[in-house]
């Protein structure tokens, strides 16, 4: 299992961009990187997934440098409803997917 390290918490204000960096130094060649969002009393929900370079969808962007030892989730123009815990996962062919402690993002008005 590739271990991941994320900041415990981040604070932001509405309308700002939030960038969360995840470190995964021992990522394997076939591993991909996935980010999930979790609200209180709910199961996590898929946000974005990538293998290298940059991936963008309607809610977020994922930046992965060439060495793939880290990745950054970017949430543009956050709102109060983006307050949640964000998890970075690294997984590959064994499908043994473990979550780390996550990053609690608090968005203030």
């Amino acid at each position: 299992l590739a271990k991941t390290t994320q900041p415990i918490s981040m604070d932001s204000y509405e309308g700002q961009e939030v960038n969360i960096t995840c470190s995964h130094n021992n990522i394997a060649t076939n591993d991909y990187i996935t980010w999930y969002q979790q609200f209180p009393s709910q199961g996590p929900r898929f946000i974005i997934q990538g293998y290298k370079t940059k991936v963008t969808n309607e809610v977020a962007s994922l930046f992965i440098p060439a060495d793939r030892k880290s990745s950054t989730l970017s949430l543009p123009r956050v709102s109060l409803s983006d307050t949640a815990v964000y998890y970075c996962l690294v997984g590959g062919d064994d499908y043994k997917l473990s979550f780390g402690a996550g990053t609690t993002v608090t968005v203030r008005a």
Binding site: Y32, T34, Y36, S41, Q42, G43, P44, R45, F46, Q49, V85, Y87, G91, Y95, K96, L97, S98, F99, G100, A101, G102
Partner: protein
């Protein structure tokens, strides 16, 4: 589609009792997972399955058992409940959509062992 359904939503057990947490998915996914989440913590992998008849241990399997007799169902069994098993349990299934491996989670089962 119902997605991933977990039952029950809440349960209180006495120490030493046993119970089965049910999980069923209607997306025909091969991969299924059980996680536990303690208050204020991340999710820890208990067991997972890559297909019917195949299961494997995760990070914290002690005190739990699983079976996977069908693609749809992945029950989690607690044989001798202990207070340390008080937690929220999430079941997930994983499939491929748009070339991405995506886990879909149930609503969770809140278990208290007293």
């Amino acid at each position: 589609n119902a997605g991933v359904t977990q039952t029950p939503k809440f349960r209180i057990l006495k120490i030493g009792q046993s119970m089965t947490l049910q999980c069923t998915q209607d997306m025909n996914h091969n991969y299924m997972y059980w996680y536990r989440q303690d208050p204020g913590m991340g999710l820890k992998l208990i067991y997972y399955s890559v297909g019917a008849g195949i299961t494997d241990k995760g990070e914290v399997p002690n005190g739990y058992n699983v079976s996977r007799s069908t693609t749809e169902d992945f029950p989690l069994r607690l044989e001798l409940a202990a207070p340390s098993q008080t937690s929220v349990y999430f079941c997930a299934s994983m499939g491929v959509e748009g070339g991405k491996n995506i886990q879909y989670f149930g609503a969770g089962t809140r278990l208290s062992v007293l």
